[in-house]
Amino acid sequence: MAIDKEISEKRKRQCAKLVDISKDIVRQAFDRFKPEELGTTWTGGKDSTLTLWVTRHVCQEKGIPLPKAMIIGEGDEFEEIEEFVEKIKKEWDVSLEICRNDDVLKAANHTLNAPVKVKDLNERNRAELKRIGFDGEGFPFEAESQVGNHLMKTVVFNEFLERNNIKGIIQGLRWDEHPARFNDEYFEHKEMAHLVPEHTRIRPILHFTEKDLWDTYAAFNIPYCVLYEQGYRSLGAKTTTLKDSDIPAWEQDLENTEERGGRRQDKEKAMERMRKLGYM
C-alpha cells in the first residue's frame, strides 16, 4: 500500500536531509561498537520501523546484516502488527528475537486483567518490583499499567541486552513524542546498575517530527502497519490503545493534537503519583 499524499520535490529533499542525519548517527554507532555489540528495538510501529529502515540502509552500504532486533511480546498484540512484523522480517531479513516475560505471563495464566501474585513470580521479577518501590501483594496483568509495564518491558529489555552482550541499542524515539523528551540526546550512556547492564542508547530519529515522519514514509515508500491507515496515531497494547479518529494518521491534525492522547497509561501514571503523594 502507498500513502495517498502529494510530496513536493522540495519536501522530499527536506526529508532526505533528515534521513541523512539519521544515517549518520547509525554510522557513528557502527564506529563506536562492533556489529555484534549492537541491537535494535522494534515494535512494528511507525517510529521503530523508520529507524530499522534507516539502519538497514547503512548496513547495506557496509555490506553487513542488520543488528539483532528485539520485539517485546506483551501478550496483548494487535494481529495487524504481528502480520506486519512477519512480513518485514522476511523482506528485510531481520534476525528477530521475540522477548516475553514468560514468568509474568504464566503467573497471569496468559489472561488479560488476571491478578498476578507477587509471590508467584521468580526472583528476578520480584527484585525488579522491589527496585521500583512496589510493595503490593499483587497487580492486574495489563501491559499498560505501570507495574505490569515495568516487568513486561523494562525487565525483558535488560535481559535481552545481557543475554546478547549488547553494548549499543538503537531505539526509535523522537523529541516531539513527549514534552519531557526535549533534553534527550542521540547517544545516551547508561551506567551499570543493579539488574541493568551498562549500555548506550542510540536514537537516530530524534529530530523527526510526527509530520516529518509521515512525509518521509510517503517520499520513500517505506512500509507501515495498516492500522495507521485506519486512524490510529500511536500503537500500544491492543486493549488499551484507543483510536482518536477514522482518517489515516498522516491526514490528522498532527501539530495541534496529542499523539499519545489515546493511551490509558497516562491516566494511570497520574493516578499512581497522586496515590504516592497521599491523595487517595
Binding site: 521500583i132 513527549h178 497516562d266 503519583r273 503523594l277 497521599g278
Partner: protein
C-alpha cells in the same frame, strides 16, 4: 520587562519563612527581601493544588466550570496568552494534578511534568536540584530571547522524608530513620490522626526540614539565573498554592479546610532594580498572578482573567477574596462530595461548609488563629453569608 519567572512551591506555609516573622527555615529567601515586594495578605483561592492552580495559572475559580477533572477548554492559560504575545514559554514541575493528562500543557513551548519518570515512595516527585538542571538546559536554549518560565517545586509536600542534613539543622536531637518517617506518613498523616501531640510536633519538624531543603533549591535556581546573566533582566513572582495543617484545626495535611494555615500563602515579587523591601498589606489573591504577568510583559489585558495586576500597588482595588474547594475528607455522604467556600473582606473571614451546612466567621485581627467563631454574634454575619450563598452550587453541571 524582558523575562518573567513564576516560582511556585507546593504546600509552603507562610509562617515558616523568616521574613514573615516565623522561625527562619529560609535563609536564602529571607536574604533577597530587599529586592522584593512582600504581600502579607495573599490568599490562595483553594486549599489544595487542584483548587488553587486554576487561579494561579488561569485567573479563574476552581468550581467555575463545574467539577471537571480536565482543565476546561474555556479557561485561558497564562502560557497561551504570553505565547500569543511572541514570548517563549516553559513549565517544569512534577505534580500529577497539573499534568499534560489533565490538559495543563496548553500554550507551553516546553512542558515537563515528569509523569514518565519513575519515582520512589518516599520522595514521589522530582526534586528541586534535578528540576533546576532541566531548567538550566532550557535556559541555555533561549539565546537572549524574552521568556516566561514557570517552575513548581514539590519538595515540601508529604510524605515528609527529608534528608538527614536538613533534619539536623531543624532539630539535631531527632532520632528517626527513613522507614519510621514513612511509617508516620502512612499511619498518622494519611489517617489525619492528631491524637499524639508529640508526633504532630515531630511531623512539623520534618516538614520544616523540607522547607530548609527547598530554600537551598531556590538559592540554586537564583544562582543559575545569575550565572547566565538573566537575574538582572527578570522579574520573579514567588508564591505557594496552599499550606499544610499540623493540628491547628484538628487535622493534618491539606484537603477541604479553609483556615489560614492553608490559604494565607507567601507571595513576593522580586524586582532586580528594587533596593528596599516594600511590605504590602492589601488583600490580594492567587488569581492576580496571571494579570500581573500580562502587565509585566506589556500585553493587552485578558477579559477572561478575573484577577487584577498586583502592580502598580497604588492601582490595586480594595476588594474581598473568595476561595472554594470540594470537601474531600470531611464528606461523610456517599456519592457527591460537598463544597466548601470562604470569603474574606478586610479582617473578616467567613467559611461555609456544605457537608454540615455550617458557617464560621472569624475576626482575623483579634483572632488570627481562627478559634473563636463569631457567626452567631456578629452584626455583619448576614451580609457576609449572602456573598457566599450566591457562589455555592453556582455551576449546575
Amino acid at each position: 520587562m524582558k523575562n518573567v519567572i513564576l516560582l511556585t512551591i507546593d504546600t509552603l506555609r507562610k509562617d515558616v519563612l523568616g521574613c514573615y516573622g516565623g522561625e527562619s527555615f529560609t535563609p536564602f529567601i529571607d536574604s533577597i527581601q530587599d529586592n522584593c515586594i512582600r504581600f502579607n495578605k495573599a490568599y490562595s483561592p483553594g486549599p489544595y493544588t487542584q483548587a488553587a492552580f486554576p487561579g494561579i495559572l488561569t485567573s479563574s475559580y476552581y468550581l467555575e466550570y463545574g467539577r471537571q477533572k480536565m482543565l476546561s477548554e474555556r479557561r485561558v492559560l497564562i502560557s497561551e496568552v504570553v505565547k500569543k504575545g511572541g514570548i517563549a514559554t516553559a513549565g517544569f514541575h512534577s505534580n500529577p494534578y497539573i499534568s499534560t493528562y489533565f490538559g495543563w500543557n496548553r500554550g507551553w513551548d516546553v512542558f515537563y511534568d515528569s509523569m514518565e519518570e519513575e519515582v520512589n515512595d518516599k520522595v514521589p516527585y522530582i526534586k528541586a536540584d534535578v528540576l533546576n538542571k532541566k531548567v538550566h538546559d532550557w535556559l541555555k536554549s533561549c539565546q537572549d530571547k524574552p521568556f516566561f518560565l514557570w517552575v513548581h517545586y514539590m519538595d515540601v509536600h508529604e510524605p515528609y522524608v527529608p534528608e538527614w542534613k536538613y533534619i539536623e539543622i531543624v532539630d539535631p536531637s531527632i532520632q528517626i530513620d527513613e522507614e519510621e518517617m514513612f511509617r508516620l506518613f502512612r499511619d498518622v498523616v494519611l489517617k489525619r490522626d492528631v491524637s499524639d501531640k508529640e508526633v504532630v510536633e515531630l511531623l512539623k519538624k520534618l516538614y520544616c526540614a523540607h522547607v530548609r531543603e527547598i530554600d537551598d533549591g531556590v538559592k540554586e535556581f537564583f544562582g543559575i539565573l545569575e550565572k547566565d546573566n538573566l537575574l538582572k533582566e527578570s522579574v520573579i513572582i514567588i508564591t505557594s498554592d496552599h499550606g499544610d495543617e499540623f493540628g491547628e484545626h484538628g487535622g493534618l495535611s491539606h484537603d477541604g479546610k479553609m483556615y489560614s494555615e492553608l490559604v494565607n500563602v507567601p507571595l513576593f515579587i522580586y524586582e532586580p532594580s528594587r533596593e528596599k523591601t516594600e511590605v504590602c498589606d492589601i488583600l490580594v489573591s492567587g488569581l492576580d498572578v496571571p494579570p500581573t504577568i500580562v502587565y509585566l510583559f506589556g500585553l493587552d489585558s485578558v477579559d477572561a482573567f478575573e484577577g487584577h495586576p498586583l502592580i502598580p500597588l497604588e492601582d490595586y482595588p480594595t476588594r474581598g477574596a473568595f476561595g472554594e474547594a470540594v470537601d474531600k475528607h470531611g464528606s461523610r455522604e456517599k456519592g457527591e462530595e460537598k463544597e466548601v467556600h470562604y470569603y474574606l473582606e478586610g479582617d473578616l473571614k467567613i467559611i461555609y461548609c456544605e457537608t454540615d451546612d455550617s458557617w464560621e466567621l472569624y475576626d482575623l485581627k483579634a483572632d488570627p488563629k481562627e478559634v473563636n467563631n463569631i457567626i452567631e454574634i456578629s452584626s455583619v454575619a448576614e451580609t457576609m453569608k449572602q456573598k457566599v450563598r450566591r457562589r455555592v452550587r453556582r455551576y449546575q453541571a
